[in-house]
Subunit: 199 residues, 2 copies
Amino acid sequence: MPDVKHFDPDAALDQVMRLFWERGTEATGIAEVVQATGLSRSSLYATFGGKERLQAAALRHYLERQSRPVFDALAADEHGLPAITGFFEQLVAARCTGRHARWGCLVTNTHTGAAREIPEIRQVLDAHHAALRTAMRAALQSARERGQVRPGLDLEAGAEALALLAYGVNLRSRAGAEAAQLMAGVRAVLDGFTRTEER
Amino acid sequence: MPDVKHFDPDAALDQVMRLFWERGTEATGIAEVVQATGLSRSSLYATFGGKERLQAAALRHYLERQSRPVFDALAADEHGLPAITGFFEQLVAARCTGRHARWGCLVTNTHTGAAREIPEIRQVLDAHHAALRTAMRAALQSARERGQVRPGLDLEAGAEALALLAYGVNLRSRAGAEAAQLMAGVRAVLDGFTRTEER
DNA sequence: GTTATCTTGGAACAGTCGTTCCAAGATTGG
DNA sequence: CCAATCTTGGAACGACTGTTCCAAGATAAC
């Protein structure tokens, strides 16, 4: 006849994710996590384990709640190149203005930290990259079917390129890059993927 | 009638740079710096000041010794697009194989850390981005003069795009990305910049 | 050789790190 | 209401953080 948790683990994880996202995982101490969530150290460790496990959980949470919905929307959008343009406009806007301005992307930020060596975390990094690539690839496929894409474009290579471009946007945005400059860069790549007659 | 330093500050800074580059600045303690350089804490603090100043110095050192020479070579190379392709081949090779494999780029790595807020460091980040953009811009200019570039390409936007792409390469390489996949992405972008008749 | 000045080694600092532990509290099935 | 079981608050842990300090050592001009 056990007791039950006095809090919502998912809501707590969401706050941890935001904390790690904004301030950086390595720079965030357990004390700050305790304060932000309102939990005690006991509850924290009993629920999520140590900091590594917590970081991995927060990262998975980010992938599911933040990235996946956007990726899925992109993959499902059959407008082709305009869908990709829209994705980047949305991305740049989110990275440079609003509640999460200058936070970058938690997954992107994690690439440079020490935690990237931990298998559980490396796995999420790779899963995120694969998901982003797949979404880009699907959108490019739609674009080709609509005759928007320049002949000879390797869709796999194009998807990889757009994924790398997104990382670049995420990275530079965290150091204060201007939205207009980022979008100009994005457009230069996208124009290069476009069929001449469409341009 | 003072004493002189018993070590070469520049050589020491070079070792600090390598340490921060490989292991990450936040993850590297002063104790490790002391051990790697062979200096005492006194000499370290007397020469470079605290960790923030040391990080800024190491970052500037990286920009001057690692980035600048490559950027200058790119800007001076008048072969056009092949020069840019060569730059990326060199980059991907350096990031994925050899002594510095999987180290990424110190400047790129610094974008995500807490130190990005420090003015002295933000300044180096922006200077690096400007230098990279300028070099790319010069190479694209040469490419245009040689008729290699597709009509309608905005050289500024193109330079920004290639810079963002480089950050993406640096980032993903640190998490173990495959060289071939990275280069495929790069080629997709570069092909998009190429004049149709040249392709 | 003397002396003034800087450098060096190493101990010590207070503060923070992530983690552990246990008594007290809360909950649910009986 | 009892009892079994999990949760919770909070103190305490050793290890490490970056930094400071000072006596001892080294150097170069006189």
